[in-house]
């Protein structure tokens, strides 16, 4: 095994662990993460596969094929994060609103 292969697989493994530990999420998200990690690892172990897939899909080099896939993957994770952030914003709004309503003061004319 080449050093780069080892490094990339290590990174994929860590990504999965980080994802599961930090963002408890729905099954769908988890399945996608596993698919990404497995596909990534497979490409690292069998570089010839990417070259063949690239030829099949008309991309050219195997590296390009992987890069395009990675971009799609990154875009997906950005959306995922954005959706989570909106959810967090919504919760923050609710919390802030409850605090404002429970601490409301009515001042009458003195």
């Amino acid at each position: 095994m080449r050093i780069i292969q080892f490094l990339l697989i290590l990174i994929f493994a860590l990504t999965v662990i980080a994802y599961f530990r930090r963002w408890r999420s729905r099954l769908r998200d988890r399945a996608l993460v596993i698919v990404f990690a497995l596909a990534g690892s497979a490409f690292v172990l069998f570089p010839g596969v990417t070259a063949r897939l690239a030829a099949l899909t008309g991309v050219g080099r195997g590296v390009d094929f992987v890069i395009y896939l990675a971009m799609a993957g990154l875009a997906f994770f950005c959306f995922l994060l954005y959706a989570q952030q909106r959810e967090t914003d919504r919760k923050l709004t609710e919390l802030t609103r409850v605090i404002a309503l429970t601490t409301a003061q009515e001042r009458v004319k003195s």
Partner: protein, 235 residues
């Protein structure tokens, strides 16, 4: 026999004023409202300046967001509160002094007469109001009117005019999710979806150096459109 529809007094009319870092002008803005006898609800949207301190001497309902959320969120908090307090009519009013307390009486008339659920202020119904609008702002607003029409399906004469009146039942059906300025388009969208009866009413917007400096920029307009489009994707 008890009168079913008791007359609406100024006290039943809750004027909601979201304030974010408006310490310089907030007292000036609120005094005419208090003098007119309205129930005034100030939502201090996490101001970092002296806005909160300035309010302490005034006879108003005082709410405070511990963190800054945006004008839309502050209005929703104010509406929730006013409805809890038994408001019959709710008015949205800007804290920077560009809206006139004297216009409220006219603004709420269509609701009092039972002709509308929501009244939207417009600065383009009377030539003397439109004349007050600086030329660049006018161009900006004309484009905003078209964009709003596209996004909400409702054609108004003015866009992002924050001066509005709602009946209690209409206000209870409005649920602003857009915390920022995009709420102004969102509320129009909800008025259409809830099939509320709306009319426009002429109002005078007073432009001062202060309001102009605080006014919305092109960049804000871009943000608003982005917010509204993202909202379509992420419900």
């Amino acid at each position: 026999m008890k009168n079913v529809s008791a007359p609406v007094t100024a006290h039943d009319t809750f004027v909601i004023v979201p304030a974010f870092n408006e310490g310089e002008v907030v007292v000036q803005t609120l005094q005419p409202l208090i003098r007119a006898g309205f129930s005034v609800v100030v939502v201090d949207d996490g101001s970092a300046d002296a806005t909160g301190d300035k309010l302490s001497a005034l006879a108003v309902h005082c709410l405070r967001h511990p963190v800054n959320l945006g004008q839309g969120a502050a209005l929703q908090t104010g509406m929730d509160y006013a409805l809890q307090q038994g408001a019959k009519i709710l008015v949205h009013f800007d804290s920077d002094g560009q809206h006139q307390a004297g216009d409220i009486e006219r603004l709420i008339q269509p609701i009092l007469r039972g002709e509308a659920d929501v009244v939207l202020g417009s600065r383009f119904l009377r030539p003397q109001d439109a004349g007050q609008v600086p030329p660049t702002r006018r161009m900006f607003l004309k484009i905003a009117v078209w964009v709003n029409w596209l996004l909400t399906g409702v054609r108004l004469s003015d866009a992002h005019n924050g001066f509005r009146a709602l009946s209690a039942s209409a206000a209870s059906q409005i649920d602003l999710r857009e915390n920022g300025f995009a709420h102004a388009s969102e509320i129009v969208q909800q008025i259409r979806e809830r099939k509320l009866r709306w009319v426009e009413c002429p109002v005078t917007i007073r432009y001062t150096e202060y309001t102009r400096a605080k006014g919305q920029s092109w960049w804000n307009a871009f943000n608003i459109v982005m917010d509204l489009m993202l909202r379509r994707i992420f419900r």
